[in-house]
Amino acid sequence: MSKKSAKDTPREENPPVDAAVVPDGTGDATGKDTGAASPAPDGAATEATAGDGAGTPAAGATVTETPRASEPVAPPVLDKGENVLEVRDLVKHFPITQGIVLRRKVGAVQAVDGINLDLRRGETLGIVGESGCGKSTLAKLLIGLERPTSGTIKVRGQDLTELRGGDLLAARRNIQMVFQDPYTSLNPRMTVGDLIGEPFEIHTDVVPRQGRRQRVQELLDLVGLNPDHINRYPHQFSGGQRQRIGIARALALEPEVLLCDEPVSALDVSIQAQVINLLEKLQDELGLSYLFIAHDLSVVRHIADKLGVMYLGRVVEYGNAEEIYEAPTHPYTQALLSAVPVPDPKLRGMRDEIVLEGDVPSPANPPSGCRFRTRCWKAEDVCAEETPLLQVRENSRHASACHFAQKRDVVHGSA
């Protein structure tokens, strides 16, 4: 059960930086626009907690929890800036129970098993992996639809897993989600005005009642929809337009982090680019940070600054997106990237193709040691015995959880 302890050391180095940056960041947030932003006392309170949270408790907690991390992992420092989202040792195990009246636990699905992530202001972190890798559970944990088994989720220094009630509600404003399927994520019985205005009805202090309609229209305008369509129902819009409605709803509370769960995979090819470009535009204009969860590696490459590759509940490779795409070191990442078809027939047969055998093992009973070893062509005995830590390996600048990490270019053609 060695959790990827990770990041402790740098965390200890970071606090001064964080502390210095925090007030700055909040200033940014409130200054974003809308005269209707939350009243001063509230904002002040958030700042205070953010300041407290960012420093001591986090570092202390992680250090004590993982004392046997002999080789601490240095997270790839990509750029300077405040971490708006910090995930530490996040674990979610779903118990498998038997019996109706007397439930007893017979096992656990290890959906998410020790994940560490950092997201800075204005940055996009891509999370890729295939079905069953735990990325959807990760999204649910971050958005508060599931409670983690252990670990912390800090949004601007506030640990969401510790907050309750009103504090949690307020803290959640900072992280909002754009759902995958624009056809099922909008209540068909509500008008666009009701849908985008709902956040204001739940968080009543954000925009005063009489200003809400106008704010909704501003949001519609922001995402490129006609503000006059406020009384229409979702089914009067096309898929791409609905996804814009979903984005407007997620932006209503002016979050800093937008969690995008496969936001374009349900859309037609010619519509995808429209939505991707909108997301990029919004990021530039509003300074948003994106956590972009997807199985479409081409889209992620286009939009992500940083990348985390997940397999069976764990992150196997993490770091600068460009580096990982150009020179992945984990065999799974290599297989994943090489499987993505490239729309260029000239590269047919020229690329390094790795076709994996078999299926992903059940997360209820994952392999010991490295979870990928059962399908890995490099696997040796040590892979079953020792869990490879997610750390920077030789010849590479980003972290990889493989004992035999080695660079390999798989996306480009080689003559």
Partner: protein, 349 residues
């Protein structure tokens, strides 16, 4: 489920009255195919004049977005169009010179599975959940070939082996839900190949699958096609998959084939603004920081088509003529057509 059971309901062959096949004619020749959907909102021309040929051992991709008519084309070729509301109103679908649209129901049914077979996107709903995979595969042989239960089972195991399902002899008694998504798609392929079809239609065969599984399935399909020199008709929206496996490509938009060409030519130098815009709008895994161009607007509603070129309202180079006159199929080169008045301006790129 219904489609598969319809495919399976074939009885002993009775070829009486069936026109003679001409083995020198192309394996599959679709000419000016027209399909209409008659709905409450009006008549939609879902397929409007699709023409192409498919030779043995070749792969033709039909590329299009939802509503472009690519799946309807496949269903019309297969003869499994939901009718009503769909009706084939014109054109011909010839297999070795025999127009399948002119055959009677019985003759048509006999061709399904043995001449033309199809695999679908959603393997789980295409397999019957209450029978074992082996039973469903064996049923094909028992019903069509009158085999005994035991022989049929042996054949079923052979087929599972053929599609590289590990431990076929054990897995033959499993139910569809006990297979993973990729393995289920393999079972579907096995079922489609059971009667040795000459033409295999794959309708978005990997859309529901993960990318590594997609790679496995596409590799398998390519190998099987080579081994049996089948004609493969690949219906997809994924330009990456097309580039990897197809020989020829037909790009469909709003019921029409707007461009048709050998695959390498189309990617190098598209001759229709739609194809060109599409290629520029998709992000690529091997390129960083490319600018994504956007195709403005939405595809037209098939019941209310714009006059002239159907792509004109979204086209970056549309002119007056485009809104008035529907472009005919221009011959760009041998084996290559484009339905754009100004194809020569797109073409050089």
């Amino acid at each position: 489920m219904s489609i598969v059971s319809r495919m399976k309901k074939q009885t002993a062959p009775s070829t009486s009255g069936r026109p003679e096949a001409d083995s020198s004619a192309p394996l599959l020749e679709v000419e000016n195919l027209q399909v209409e959907f008659r709905t409450r909102d009006g008549v939609a021309k879902a397929v409007n004049g699709v023409t192409f040929t498919l030779e043995a051992g070749r792969t033709r991709a039909i590329l299009g977005e939802s509503g472009s008519g690519k799946s309807v084309t496949a269903q019309a070729i297969m003869g499994i169009l939901d009718s009503p509301p769909g009706y084939v109103t014109g054109g011909a679908v010839r297999h070795r010179g025999v127009d399948m649209l002119k055959l009677n129901r019985e003759q048509r049914r006999l061709m399904r599975g043995s001449t033309v077979a199809m695999i679908f996107q959603d393997a789980l709903s295409a397999l019957n959940p209450v029978f074992t995979v082996g039973f469903q595969l064996g049923e094909m042989f028992r019903v069509h070939r009158g085999m005994s239960r035991k022989d049929a089972r042996t054949k079923a195991i052979e087929l599972l082996d053929l599609v590289r399902i590990p431990g076929a002899a054990q897995r033959v008694d499993d139910y569809p839900h006990q297979f993973s998504g990729g393995m289920r798609q393999r079972v579907m392929i096995a079922m489609a190949l059971a009667l040795d079809p000459e033409i295999l239609i794959a309708d978005e065969p990997t859309t529901a699958l993960d990318v590594t599984v997609q790679a496995q399935i596409m590799k398998l399909l390519a190998e099987l096609q080579q081994e049996r020199s089948m004609g493969l008709l690949l219906i997809t929206h994924d330009m990456g998959v097309v580039a990897d496996v197809a020989d020829d490509i037909s790009v469909m938009y709003a019921g029409r084939v707007v461009e048709q060409a050998p695959v390498s030519e189309i990617y190098d130098a598209p001759a229709h603004p739609y194809t060109k815009s599409l290629l520029e709008s998709i992000p690529r895994v091997d390129l960083r920081g490319q600018e994504l161009s956007v195709i403005k607007g939405l595809p037209p509603t098939l019941t209310a088509m714009p006059p002239g070129c159907s792509f004109a309202p979204r086209c970056y180079m549309a002119r007056e003529k485009c809104g008035q006159e529907a472009p005919p199929a221009f011959d760009v080169a041998a084996d290559r057509i484009s339905r754009c008045h100004y194809w020569d301006e797109v073409h050089p790129a």
